[in-house]
Symmetry: C2
Amino acid sequence: MPTNNSHRYSAHEQEIMKKMGLRVRQLREASSLSQEKLAELAHVHRTYISTIERGQQNISLTILIRLADVLGVSLATLFEDT
Amino acid sequence: MPTNNSHRYSAHEQEIMKKMGLRVRQLREASSLSQEKLAELAHVHRTYISTIERGQQNISLTILIRLADVLGVSLATLFEDT
DNA sequence: GTGTGACTTGAAGTCCGTC
DNA sequence: AGACGGACTTCAAGTCACA
């Protein structure tokens, strides 16, 4: 997602998207993976991980599943703090 | 989602999509809501709820948030069993 | 009140590059 | 190694008609 599309989502939704991004980043770094490596393992594009971690993506369920799998956590764990 | 696109997702992904759908249906019925009413409250289309509950939708995060909100549960709770 | 196929459109997600 | 942009393709999202 390019530049600023913040108007598309409510403040509440943006907040959760940001939290999800930070959570992914935390878990990725805890696994000592680069964005590139995580992207490769989860079969998503390198630049997409970047936008996710910055809270700019409205991620779909299948992508969330793949990320959870690679990061070695359950989906529930991924949403723990939201 | 039109016709049969089941080939698009892995068995694992389809399984979770189905579980999510059942979970939504359970929570909706526990709240004594019709699909129509849930749709109205969550600001999504009636027929979309139908496809979600049958596990045919690769739901995005924002839709999950709206459903969780209306159903009165956290996102983590929504993913409890997966 | 719900399931489903057909359809449109905006966003998800990819791929190239530069900084 | 990561942020970010532009252009592109694929699909989620939303609507309708009918069963």
